[in-house]
Amino acid sequence: MDNDRIDQIIEKHHGEPSYLIQVLLDIQSENHWLPKAALERVGEKLKVPYTRIQHIATFYKAFSLVPKGRHGIHICMGTACHVRGATRILDAVQDQTGIKPGETDLDLKFSLETVNCLGCCALGPVMEVDGKAHGKMTPSQSAEVLKTYE
C-alpha cells in the first residue's frame, strides 16, 4: 500500500489521533493486513508513538500483522454453533487445510479464523468462506465446500 493512499485515509479522518483505530481499520480492510511501513507512516502523520500503534494493532482482533491467504475461512464458534458441533467442523477444516486458527498456509491459499458469532444462528454450525455463509455444516460437507476453492 503506497503512502499516498494512506495519507488519503488519514485525511478522511481529519488527521485526528483519536481516529487511529478507524484509520487502521480502513487500511486493514483495503490491504487485508497491516505492513510495518504503513504503520510507521500512520504514526508519523498522526504523531502517535509507534509503540502505541503496535499496542493497538496487537490488541484488537480485526488487525493482522501478517499477509492473508486468497480465501478467508471463518468458522463460527458462537455458543449456538458450539452446541451444534462447531468444534467438529473446525477440527475437520484444520485437518484438511493443515492450518490452525490465525494461520495462513504456505501457498497463501487459505487463512483460517474463528469468529464468535456471525449472527446466523438458525443455520449453525456455520462456516463462512470469502463472506459467503455455508450453513448446517457437517465435517464431511465442510470438506466438500473447501474443495471448490482454488
Partner: protein, 644 residues
Amino acid sequence: MAKIHTPEELESFRKDLLSRKDPSRPCISICAGAGCIASGADEVIAAFKTEIENQDLQAKVDTKGTGCPGFCERGPVVVIYPEEICYLQVTAEDVPEIIEQTIKKKKVVERLLFEDPATGQKVVREPDIPFYKNQKRTLLCSNIKIDSKSIDDYLAIGGYSALNKALFGMTPVDVVGEVKKSNLRGRGGAGFPAGRKWEGSRNAEEKIKYVIVNADEGDPGAFMDRALLEGNPHSILEGLIIGGYAVGAQEGYIYVRQEYPLAVKNISLAIRQAEEYGFLGENILGSDFSFKVIVHQGAGAFVCGESTALMTALEGRVGEPRPKYIRSNIKGLWERPSVLNNVETWANVPLIINNGADWFAEVGTEGSKGTKIFSLVGKINNTGLVEVPMGISLREIIYDIGGGIPDGKKFKAVQTGGPSGGCIPEEKLDLKVGFDELTKAGSMMGSGGMIVMDEDTCMVDVARYFINFLTDESCGKCVPCREGLRQMHRILTNITQGKGKQGDLETLQELSETAIEASLCALGKSAPNPFLSTLRYFKEEYEAHIDEKRCPALSCKELIAFYIDPEKCSACGICRKKCPVDAIDGAKKTIHIIDQKKCTQCGTCLEVCPSKFGAVKKISGEPVPPPIEEEKRTLTKKQKASVQ
C-alpha cells in the same frame, strides 16, 4: 430533499408522505437481515425485482428489503401487504408463482405458508403464526414494515414525532423525568435505571457532555442489537437525539462492531439522511438544540462492550477498563459526563416519549418494565429473535414461541446472559424473566442471548467453552482475570479430556472467588459464572467426568468412542468411504470395524450411517467391545436381509 425547519413542516411533510401512499397497493417485504441473506435472501430480492420488471408491474407493486422480523429459522421470510400474507423459506424459484398467484390473482400459495406442527393447519397471516402470536413486539414489529434504508418509511410510521414532542412539548428535565418514571433499565446487561444515569449526567457541572450508543454486541449467539441497527436505525438515532437533548449533550457516538458491516452501513446512511432532513445539525427543527452524531467502529474486542473500555476505545486507545470511583456519567469520555446506553435501551426512548411512561410501565414485573428482545438459539425448533414482555416464563419462551427442542430430544438447560451469564436447568423453567429474577437463579439478563441446550450438550464443556472465550477476551489488566481464567480453562479442559482429578472442583471454586473479588470490571467479576452455575445445577456431570471418566452427554471427544454394532452393520460401505482418516476397515459383504487407534472421533460415521441400519454407536465410560472375529465378518445374504 429540503431541510425541515419547524415542527409544522415535519407534520405536513408526513401528511404528504402518507397521502401519496395507497394502503391497498401491494407491497412485498423481504427480510434482508443477516440470517435471511445467509439463507439466500439476496437472490430472492433480485428475483422479485426481475419478475416485476418482466411483467411490467413496477407501477403497481412495491418491493422492500427490510430488517429482520425474527423468524430466522424459516428464512428467507417474505411478507405481502396489505394482507400480511407470510411466506417462509422462499427461494428464487418460488418468485414467479408468488407474483402470478398472490399479486395478480390474490390467491395464497399454500405450500409456502407456515404449517402448525401440532395441528397441521396452515397459517396465512404473519401475526397469526404461533411464533409471533405469543410475542409482544413493540420494537421489532416495525422491522418488516419499513425499508431500512428509507427515512421516509420511518417517517410514515410516525418516526421523529417523539423528537418533535420532546423538543417542543417538554423541557429536558421533563424528558429525564419521563424516562425515570418509566423505570426503563439498561438493556445491555447490568440493568441500571436509564433515567438515573441520565439525571446524573444532566446535573453534572461540566458543560460538554456526550451520549453514546453501545452497539458492541459481542456475546456469541446474540444478535438483537444488530437486527435493530440494520432494520430500524432511525429509531435508535431518534432515541439518541432525545437523550442528547435531555442530558444537554452536543455530541453523540455510536460504537458499533466492525463485524457488522451492514449495521455500520445502515446507521451511517441514517445519520446522513437525518442531517439532510434537519433532525441532526444546528437548530434541530428550528429549536435551539444542536446535535451531531459520529459512528465509531470497534476493531474486535469483547471487553470494549464494557462501558469504560468502550470510552477508552473511542478515544483511540486500547480498550482497557478503568476503575469507576467516579461513574462515567460524571466523568467518562475525555473525562466528561457521558451517558452510555445499549442499542435496545435507546430504541425504547421514542416509544416512551410518544406513549408515556405509564404505557411503558404497564408491561412487566415489579422491577423490570417493558419488553425485552432475546435471541433464541441453540437446540430449539424456532431459532430467531423474540420480543416478549418482562415477566413471561422461560417455559413459555422455549415451548410456546420457540416450539420446543428438535428431534424429540430432552431439554437440559438454557443459558442466558452471554459468556458471563449462567445455565438454568429444567426445574427452574417457570422462572419469570426479569433482571432480578434471573440474577437470583445464578444467571443474569445480560443483553439477551438465550441458548437452549439439550441432552447432547455437555455442561462441563459449556463451562469450558465460556471460560475459554473469556480467557481469550480478557484485556489482561487484572491478574485474577488474566491468569485465573487461564488456570480455570486448563483445569476444565483436563476434566473434559478425562484428566480431571480430585480437588479440581475446589481449586476451580477458589479461583472463581478470587476473580469475582479482585477483578476491576464486570468481565472478570462475572467470568466464573458459567462454571459456578453449571456446578450448582449439574454437579453430577462434573463428577462423572472426574470419577468415572465418562461424559454423560456423549460429547467430550476424549471420553467417547465410536464402534460399529456387528449385528446391525450391513456392509454398505458409506462410513468407510466418508471416514476422513481411513479408520474403518471393511469390504463388500464384510462387516465394518473401526480402528480405535486411528479414529479421531469426528462422528462422520455416525452421521452417515443410514438410519435404517443405525449400526454406529457412541459410547462413553465403558470399554469398546472387542472387534468381531475375522471369520464371522462375512455377511451371508440371509444375514444381510435380516439386518434390513
